[in-house]
Amino acid sequence: MARIVVDPVNRIEGHLRIEAQLDGGKLTDAWSSGTMFRGIEMILKGRDPREAWIWTQRICGVCTMVHAIASVRAVEDALQIEVPDNARIVRNLIAGSQMVQDHVIHFYHLHALDWVDVAAALKADPVKTSSLAQSISNCEKSSATYFKGVQQRVKAVVDSGQLSLFASGYWGHPAYILPPEANLLAVAHYLEALAWQKDFIRIHAVLGGKNPHPQSFLVGGMSTAMDPNEPAAVINPERIDLLRDLVAGAKKFVNDYYIPDVLAIAPFYKDWFTRGEGLGNFLSYGDYSSGDQKDPKTFLFPRGIVMGRDISKVFPVDPAKITESVAHSWYEYAGGDASGLHPSVGETKPKYSGPKPPYDHLDVEAKYSWLKTPRYDGKPMEVGPLARMVVGYAAGKPEIKAAVDGALKALNAPATVLFSTLGRIAARALECQLMAAQLPGWVDELDSNLAHGKTDIFNPVRWDPGSWPASASGYGWHEAPRGALGHWVEIKGRSIENYQAVVPTTWNAGPRDAQGQRGAYEAALVNTPVVDPGRPLEILRTIHSFDPCIACAVHTVDAQGREYTIPRIP
């Protein structure tokens, strides 16, 4: 029996700590703890709801803009504002390109080093690496000379004795089983992806001035003024051409690098098709409308719930069944910490009861995280790319079904392999490919609207706070790269009365509930074999497969300990 602690969990957004119990070479239990919070929802109180998106966007700079879109949707819902079609398209483009870029970065820069041994790449034969590359992809950079150059570059770093970011890796760990050539290929593509991501995300600069934190959202539309004859317009024919080039490049990168690499690496790690499943319950709010954002039937990713890995049924999502409890979180509820409260009537009274720092272990029998515990109808749910693909597959969405079936055929595996660590990785790659294929269509729509003089980008009816009702409430949902995201807002007069965000990583990384039901991370780690407790690579593999974003996941705090209750009639 040994307690393994991983803190910090690296290659994620934010501050995550995992404690796990090792018994007989396998993990018998695990606890997930978020160790940082800021209190953004509290800071929002009393501010202008039209600018809430500027603040909430800073919840996260990795999945930047996801909290901006959820925020403007929540305020638009509260004030009953319809946004023009061009705003829907531009938002889809910004969010969709975020998803594509984020997934690529996740695979190559946040996750690959759990599967790829950089040191082993030095043993590769560049000629054989070239053959491998050419057998899996049409990408141009695949010559032996190219791979030799990459290898020399890695060798120079190793020889210098200054390994930089690679110094602390678990190199030589027995769980790394790729042949040297696959390692070299992946290291080369790590560098290619690093160069590609910064180029592609210029699409956010075109449509939002910068990335991270693009600055073009408005409650009621977007600031990206359109004019077919105006060089100074944010969107004009010249900029459409640039957008077209950028999205074409994204599609090519995903098809030439990301998808072939996932399909090439996965067969070496087939054990991980049966490890790391977790809950088997999946929630997707759905998103990316082709027309009416209020109508889930128009969504690229369907809305729905799949329970107990039963893909024969898709249940509808009832917003009233979403609750959060604090049985194991450093907060108190007036009506008892075990009770589940809907976000619209949420309370936040923080009370740190963990060990005094510096500490070695958390008291996991008591409270152990700054994350709350979200539940749907009392059940823990997994959200994210796998949830979207499972729900879309179960709902019979043709594009998703074709993509999933195609991948399963290529891997010669049944659909049940989806419910695993590797299934999560595959689902993210497929989703990225689907989204990359979708982007050019939105550029075309924008181009067509521009050519037909349809340039509305903003609905001014409620810009003036004088036009608002005395009080209003609303919510906005978005399928962020990491999963189902919801913002709930209460407006009183001209200001925010209350603001709550229920965030993807809170669903996945939250601690257990009063009934002892584990969260998705905790459940996924149970039964995972760990070969070397001093180098728990296997824990990283499963946790990273979720793509954690802890800054997103942590909730409001009020350091004065005031009780914060929302007077709202459901």
Binding site: V5, D7, P8, V9, N10, R11, H15, T35, M36, F37, R38, I43, I54, R58, C60, G61, V62, L79, H109, L110, L113, V118, R153, L165, F166, S168, Y170, L194, A195, K198, R202, A205, V206, G208, G209, K210, Q215, S216, A225, M226, A233, D318, H342, Y352, G354, P357, P358, Y359, T455, I457, F458, P460, D464, S467, S473, G474, L540, D558, A559, Q560
Partner: protein, 370 residues
């Protein structure tokens, strides 16, 4: 200087970069720093060094946006920074190792490179209740910052949060958050303000440090003058429209489509200093005003509280012929933006806005299921 017996060209070749690429990169950095070409040889030699200086990057109460911004660095390519310019030995979001292995990497630097390494800090540092609002490896952020920044040659605070607490410190500052220079007094800090910091500026700062073993000239907030010495309004591509009295008065109107001045929509450019309009973002692709939205003064001190509400007009913008220097800004700015400004400064000199359309009827209260 080069290590004895080593040759710059060989050293570069081993690292996969040509001398031409290096010179080009160094020229771009000098231009950003406003330094003459005569420093080029010195810069090239410093950057081409065989033994790389060590850098560690700490993340506290952050959103990782400043790390992401660094990854968007176009000159130099981020891979070059990581592999060639510096030995980047600790950075949670991208480093290979986790847990104990990560903590050991940081401990090694603090112990063995004492007084020689650079530390970059991203995120605010919570001081309330003994610092329990941010812990890493069981230690508080402030405990880690005191040790790591205290043993470094210099500390670079990137982004608004590490600069002065940023958004985390905004009223009511629930966690007692502070910027690095206040949380860890006595440490030499260069502040690369902005939300996020602009990686072109931070790269230029690093090159300056490698070349001259010192930081460039700083303003009263310890921000480098080359990046924070000029007012956005004075460098803005829409300035001519301001001078001519052409303003956007409603999002999507004719002026908005034609790129007119955003002052009336709440733009904070006249009160903000940053080289954002010049260096721009994402390989010089654009910047917020180019995207049709007003500036929020994200590189200014305490901008979240002092510059919001972001859609309200600035009250005291001087008209033509009134000189304001960057160093005069920020004095008495607390609460500078006010609602319903009618008779200050520029407001008197600009054209009156057309009468707004009658407001629509307020929406009815909804009886939604949630």
């Amino acid at each position: 200087m080069l290590a004895p017996g080593s040759d710059l060209n060989t050293s570069l070749a081993n690292r996969g970069i040509t001398r031409r690429q290096l010179v080009k990169f160094c020229s771009a950095m000098l231009a950003t720093l406003a330094l003459p070409e005569r420093y080029l040889a010195q810069t090239v030699a410093a950057v081409g060094k065989a033994r790389k200086p060590v850098l560690v990057w700490l993340q506290f109460q952050d959103c990782t946006g400043c790390s992401e911004s660094m990854l968007r660095s176009s000159h130099p390519d981020v891979a070059d920074v990581v592999l060639d310019l510096l030995s980047w030995e600790y950075h949670e979001v991208i480093m290979a190792g986790a847990g104990d292995a990560a903590n050991r990497a940081l401990e090694r630097v603090v112990k063995e490179e004492k007084g020689k390494y650079l530390v970059v800090v991203e995120g605010a540092i919570p001081m309330a209740e003994g610092g329990i609002y941010c812990t890493i490896g069981g230690r508080t952020a402030v405990d880690i910052a005191r040790e790591v920044c205290g043993s470094a040659a210099a500390t670079i605070a990137v982004g608004a949060c590490a600069f002065d607490g940023g958004l985390v410190r905004a009223d009511p500052n629930p966690t007692g958050a502070l910027g690095v220079h206040e949380a860890v007094p006595g440490v030499k800090v260069v502040n690369m303000a902005g939300c996020p910091h602009n990686p072109a500026n931070t790269a230029a700062l690093l090159v300056h440090y490698l070349t001259f073993h010192d930081v460039p000239a700083l303003d009263q907030y310890n921000r480098p003058l080359f990046a924070y010495g000029r007012i956005i309004h004075d460098q803005c591509e829409r300035r001519a429209h301001f001078d001519a009295g052409r303003f956007v008065t409603e999002w999507g109107d004719e002026g908005h489509r034609k790129g007119w001045c955003l002052y009336k929509m709440g733009c904070k450019g006249p009160e903000a200093t940053f080289n954002c309009p010049i260096v721009q973002w994402n390989d010089h692709t654009s910047w917020p005003i180019r995207a049709g939205h007003g500036c929020i003064a994200c590189a200014s001190p305490r901008f979240w509280d002092h510059m919001s509400p972001f859609y309200d007009r600035l009250p005291n913008v001087p008209g033509f012929g009134v000189e304001v220097t960057a160093s005069e800004l920020g004095v008495g700015l607390v609460g500078a933006t006010v609602l319903g400004v009618t008779a200050h400064g520029i407001v008197k000199t600009i054209r009156p806005a057309p009468a707004p359309p009658p407001p629509p009827a307020p929406p009815v209260e909804k009886g939604k299921e949630n």
